[in-house]
Symmetry: C2
Subunit: 333 residues, 2 copies
């Protein structure tokens, strides 16, 4: 099968381009103070600048994605790396994945707990192992063998996320009492934004290579070593030089079931849709119809950027050789 | 986007259909004794009959897939359930997934070690949890809470698989000595058929519902809690009533990177290809070109069955209201 790009011409053949997200959620404009808004925007901005500079200087999309995500992972503001949320058992278990579009190489880790920057572990799996996906203690062990920067599990402690878990556990307990202990598994409570803050990045470098990566702490109160869409190639992350690089954020289970990241690539491969039409259809029609909250960021092979989301906010930004901007809410469009 | 079935008409609108595989590999015709061939064929046959009978009696595709795979998991002949291969550390860690095509519900477990039938754990995740994928000890714990049949880890001991691991470990040690301890991770040795024997099933029931499932012990000598394609929705398993139900087997890393199961569905959704053209293109052109060994079994919404593989054998069989057959080697076509 050859690709089938018979649609409208690219709107702009950019030299390079980068796009990032810091999660999609139900936060409304006005719920953040002006100072908080500035803080988030500054964090997104500094990550974007790191990636943009790499691309500007002829660096690879893969490097730009990893270094950009590391900045977001090191910030306590996002649910990834340092700011990862807590599991039901009060631990932090982090997921990340990366893919590059020239050879469709990919790497992912699920449930690491001592790796400072999970995206570097995903990259090491991609480049230095025969595997695509490692998990749990095995993934931690692999990161150690790769001499990646390790931390004590306590590094991931933040008061804000700990309090969030305690609040949810308390509410869960209250609900159980009301029901005389008849709590059902499906009712596992979570606050609306318990999954908020996953980070991701997609980039196109000057050599025409695409790459994408995603990193997350998962959802507050997650149990049974749940794996969401972030470390699943084809669900949370995908990259193919012939089509698109994409990173997703939102209600991960729906993104797995709809293979969202690969579906975007498939639409560009097999239909005449543009990146805008394809991304918008997936997020604002298909997923919205079934109540699946979230969004995605994507760059096509021409450097066109799509950032659709069906929630009230998606922290996001993009830059190329002519433009650079960062936005938080729907109203910022 | 609506589907786009403008291709040739279905070749046969079967009342129901079921297809299974017991792994694709490099075994050549003649390497099995006539008795062994009969043994494998009988095992495949008895699994097929279980599923076929369920469908014949109006049972659901989901039930047929689970019950059929349970038969294959209970046989020591296949690398799934009872016959699961050993990890590098001498344990057995099993993966499974299932998906149903009416609502695109899905469930998966990665690295369970005390669940007799991992496919039942995948089904429980799909039907009784808010999640799609659970892993490791958490998945075992979930299975326990769901009152699934548990076993001691020693249940998965088979001399044949244990010897296989010892042979690989010995070869690995020999190679390390030759290199004065300079062994590199990428050289992790494996025998050609170390991944052989994954099982899978896809079914179409009388109500037009599709379902697919896959179950495996992974690859002999796997390390770092490696997760292959079998428990990855979109890679090893996918089902969508609008297109196809599919289960893959082979070199899992390639199947993840190419999102093989979802790609088959996308081709039926977005192009005019038939199930035969689409499945053959993926397995015998795209994957073959890059040296990715394996195959898949699939049923489209009309009950047409495709079973392409680019290896010398894929243990396989299918049945519908008019036909029933089981085959092992390429030459059996």
């Amino acid at each position: 099968m050859s690709k089938n790009h018979t649609g409208p011409p690219p709107q702009a053949p950019y030299e390079y381009a980068i796009v990032i997200h810091g999660g999609a959620g139900t936060l409304q404009k006005g719920q953040l103070s002006p100072e908080q808004e500035l803080e988030y925007k500054a964090a997104l901005d500094s990550a974007l600048i790191v990636g943009k500079t790499i691309l500007q200087n002829g660096g690879s999309a893969q490097e730009a994605v990893v270094k950009t995500i590391m900045i977001l992972e090191d910030s306590p503001l996002f649910n990834a790396g340092k700011g990862a949320v807590f599991t039901h058992d009060g631990t932090n278990e982090l997921d990340a994945s990366i893919m590059e579009g020239s050879q469709l190489k990919a790497g992912a880790v699920g449930g690491v707990s001592i790796v400072k920057n999970p995206i570097t572990a995903a990259q090491a799996v991609m480049n230095n192992s025969p595997h695509v996906m490692l998990s749990g203690a095995g993934a931690d062990q692999f990161a150690k063998e790769q001499n990646l920067t390790l931390v004590e599990p306590s590094y991931f402690f933040t008061q804000k996320n700990y309090d969030r878990l305690q609040n949810i556990l308390k509410r869960e307990e209250d609900e159980r009492r009301k029901k005389d202990g008849q709590g059902f598994l499906n009712t596992l409570s979570e606050d609306a934004d318990s999954k908020f803050g996953t980070v991701g990045c997609a980039a196109l470098d000057k050599n025409g290579n695409l790459a994408a990566g995603t990193s997350t702490g998962g959802m507050t109160n997650k149990r049974w070593d749940r794996i969401g869409d972030s470390p699943i190639i084809g669900a949370g992350t995908y990259a193919d030089n012939r089509t698109v690089a994409v990173s997703c954020t939102g209600h991960g289970e729906y993104f797995i079931r709809h293979a969202v990241a690969h579906d975007l690539s498939a639409r560009l491969m097999y239909t005449n849709q543009t990146i805008y039409q394809a991304a918008d259809t997936i997020i604002n029609i298909n997923l919205k119809e079934i109540g699946a909250l979230g969004g995605l960021i994507a760059i096509d092979k021409y450097g066109n950027v799509a950032m659709p989301f069906n929630t009230s906010c998606m922290f996001r930004g993009y830059a190329n050789n002519v433009k650079h901007e960062v936005k938080l809410f729907k109203e910022d469009e």
